[in-house]
Structures are given as structure tokens and as C-alpha cells.
Amino acid sequence: MLTKRLISCLDVRDGKLAKSVKFVDTRDIGDPVSQARKYYEEGLDELVMYDITASSDRRDIMIDVVAAVAAQVFIPFSVGGGLRSVEDCRRVLLAGAEKINVNSAAVRNPALISEASQAFGAQCVVLSMDVKAVAPGNKIPSGYEIVIDGGRTPMGIDAIQWAQLGEELGAGELVINSIDADGTKAGYELQLTRMIVDKVGIPVIASGGGGEPEHLYQVLTEGGADAALVASMLHYGTHTIAGIKQYLHERGVKMRMNY
């Protein structure tokens, strides 16, 4: 039986580790390569690295970070942030990433999803979407809207429709990141996650709001997610990978326990 996955995301800026809280006011908390290695050794199931470097002329630093991580982390590893073309995607894949993670650039140019999927295979393409709750209306029937640029720009696109279009275009997985829940440590957006899980046939990774192991339990059962992404609860040392996995295992969630 397939296990649920525990995924962590490291935000990297100018080659250093940062953790965003509500997408503002980031602060460095360490070296991404040693942090990635540490999580790998502790039993993380999958790693995501997100490049939040602002200036495009410093993006090459990320390629070096990806290569260094790939040389010592032997679990699936995806990279996102600033990937605007198939060529950008190819560079991080050649550097050693398994999967590429597209977000804002795919909203602006949905063909990026299909082009990357054709070039590298759907299993390689993760569509990450930032979602904000709004009043339901004609354009946004679900009451969940796609936002980009780290949550600053509402796009007038319904999140459920975007998830379905993403699957149709060739995304192999979805990351659903709730802007409202992100950084709150108050739990994942269960309703949003469940609505998308029920509408797509590809794995869904829930992101944003995880603060306690109980929150992961909720989103992996009630929310129906295939994987839960955690950041601050690991980065600040309030919880351990082993502790979270043991908790979920004891509550009957199938996890990878041999690591």
C-alpha cells in the first residue's frame, strides 16, 4: 500500500535558507545543503527547494545549491521558483532535481505546463498554486481564487478550475498552498484541499498552515491529500520528522517507517 508522504520545503534566497511567514519578512536560518542532508537522514520522504532570489542575475547560485543537494540527498527532490521556460526547467533537472515546480509563471503562461510535461514527462511537473479564500461569485464559484507573486496579485481564476486545467495540461502533481493558512500554524485549509482532491486524478500535496502533527492527520484523512508539506514546524525545531511520522503511524496513517 502506498504511503502518505511527509514533504518539507526549503526556501532559498541568494543561496541561503530563508523561511517565509505569510510571505513577508523572511529571515535566514541556515545553510540549505546541510539542512537538506539533515532532513534526508532523519527520514523525510521528499524535498522541495524554492528559489526566492529576487534578482535574476543571481539565479545561477541556485543551480549550484541544487547540484550540491542532489549529490547527497537520495530521495525525490523538486525545485521551483523563477522557472519561466522549458530551458529554465531543464537546467535544474540536469543539476539533479527530479521534478520541477511551477507557479506564477504557469498562471501567466499555461503552455509552460504542457511544454514541460511533453519535454520531461508528467511525473516531472508539479503545479504549485497559491490560493486565497474570497466571496464566491460568477468568476470564482468555489470561493477560492488563484493569486500569484507570493500572494500579492489576485488573478480572477477559480482555484478548482485551475487545478483541473493544470491536470489537463499535463501536470503530474499539485501543491495546494493556502495563503490564508500559510504561517499561521493553525492547520491546513481542509475544505479547499478536499474540493481539489475530489476533482483531479493526480496526487495532491497540501501546503500552508501545518503547526501540529494533528494538522497533518486532518489533511491526510479528512482533506484527502496524498502528502503534507511542512516548513516552520521542522525548520524551527518545534517538531521532528520521526515524531510527526510516529504520530501519524499510530493514528493509522500509512507512512514510510523504515528509514
Binding site: 502506498l2 508522504r5 549529490a71 537520495f74 511525473q123 528509514y259
Partner: protein, 206 residues
């Protein structure tokens, strides 16, 4: 020295990086003459079985692999490398190397909760001991990404099984060939263990 067969498929470098971390020397090569003379061969793959067989044939690697197999060279197939070691794959209705008689059908999952591809960590249950599975804990999880699965004709060729809607052969072998549907190079410590076992394997199945 391990030769990693280069047939324009994915994950060649990730296999090499995993071997590097173990201190095992390897080289990636598309040259059939080097493959014929190799001490050991890893035959990885991500992609389409039909496209993979076509490249193997164009480069003369299909014959080189069959000759190396006949000569007793230890060979490890991974994912598509595992699938094309069988007789046939339903993916693109492809005639494969036929080192292990059998077919590769596509998952047809009745349970709507199960998704295709089968992607993620799943339990590998050892059915028969093999030198490559030495020190691999019973039920240890390995990383999978695939839509077609190995179905060898002879149950004797099945070394491990995994359940995903149905029970399928996740590790198969015959003589000096061992092949896994999962990706040891992406399966953490237990996967590295299997690769280290391969680096020390003399090619005898027991």
C-alpha cells in the same frame, strides 16, 4: 567499474550520484563495445518502453546487453530498464529484450482512490532471498514512479512483490540479471544498500 547504459533515458546521473556517494566507480556510456566488456552494468530508465527499445536498437545496445547477459556479467535493471528486460511491454506494443519471459501490462485500477501513475513510497515484500536484497528489511519502502508493471511468466523469477490495487512483481531476476521496478537511487538508505549489494555481487542468484 560499473557501466551505466546511456540510451537517452532519464535518471542516469542520479544513479551515478548515488554510486559516487558509496565510493563505487561508475561511468555513463552509450558505447556497446564498452558495455560488452563491462565488469558490471546498470541499465536504468525513465520514460517510454517503446522509445527506449528503439534507442537501444539504434545504438546496438540491445545486442550488447544480451551478449553481456549471456557472458554472465552482473546486470541491474531499474524501472524502464526492468520492464524492457521482459519479453514484451504493452506500452507501445513493444517487443523487448526477453531476458525474462513475460509482459508489462498497464495498471487498470478499479478503486478510484488509486491513481496512475503509481507514484510514491510503497512496501516491498521479499518473496525469495537474493544477494541484492541482503540487509533489506522485510516490508521496507522504496520509491516508485510507473504506469506499467512487470509480470514475469515464471513465478520463480519474482524476488519481491508490492501491492497497488493488485500484487505485482516489484523485483525480478534471472541468473546474472536483477531488476527492480522501484528506484533504489531515490529510496534513501535502503536503496543505497541495494546498490552497494550490487557493487559487490558476483552475478550468482544465491
Amino acid at each position: 567499474m560499473i557501466f551505466i547504459v546511456d540510451y537517452a533515458a532519464g535518471n542516469l546521473t542520479s544513479v551515478k550520484r548515488a554510486l559516487d556517494s558509496l565510493g563505487v566507480a561508475s561511468t555513463i556510456s552509450p558505447d556497446p563495445d564498452l558495455i560488452r566488456r563491462a565488469e558490471r552494468i546498470i541499465f536504468p530508465g525513465v520514460g517510454h518502453a517503446g522509445a527506449s527499445m528503439q534507442v537501444l536498437k539504434e545504438r546496438g545496445l540491445d545486442q550488447a546487453l544480451l551478449e553481456a547477459y549471456a557472458a554472465g556479467t552482473p546486470i541491474l535493471g531499474i524501472c524502464v530498464g526492468c520492464q524492457v528486460s521482459l519479453g514484451h511491454s504493452d506500452e507501445g506494443d513493444t517487443q523487448c529484450l526477453d531476458i525474462i519471459p513475460g509482459n508489462c501490462p498497464r495498471f487498470k485500477l478499479a478503486d478510484p482512490g488509486l491513481k496512475i501513475p503509481h507514484m510514491g513510497w510503497n512496501e516491498v515484500r521479499v518473496r525469495k532471498p537474493h544477494p541484492l536484497l541482503k540487509d533489506v528489511a522485510e516490508g521496507a519502502e522504496f520509491y516508485f514512479v510507473h504506469s506499467y508493471y512487470p509480470a514475469p511468466a515464471d513465478p520463480d523469477c519474482v524476488y519481491a512483490e508490492t501491492e497497488y490495487g493488485l500484487v505485482f512483481a516489484s523485483a525480478i531476476g534471472r541468473r546474472n540479471l536483477f531488476a527492480t521496478q522501484f528506484h533504489p537511487e531515490k529510496s534513501g538508505r535502503v536503496g543505497l544498500r541495494l546498490l552497494a549489494n550490487f557493487a559487490a555481487w558476483d552475478g550468482s542468484p544465491c
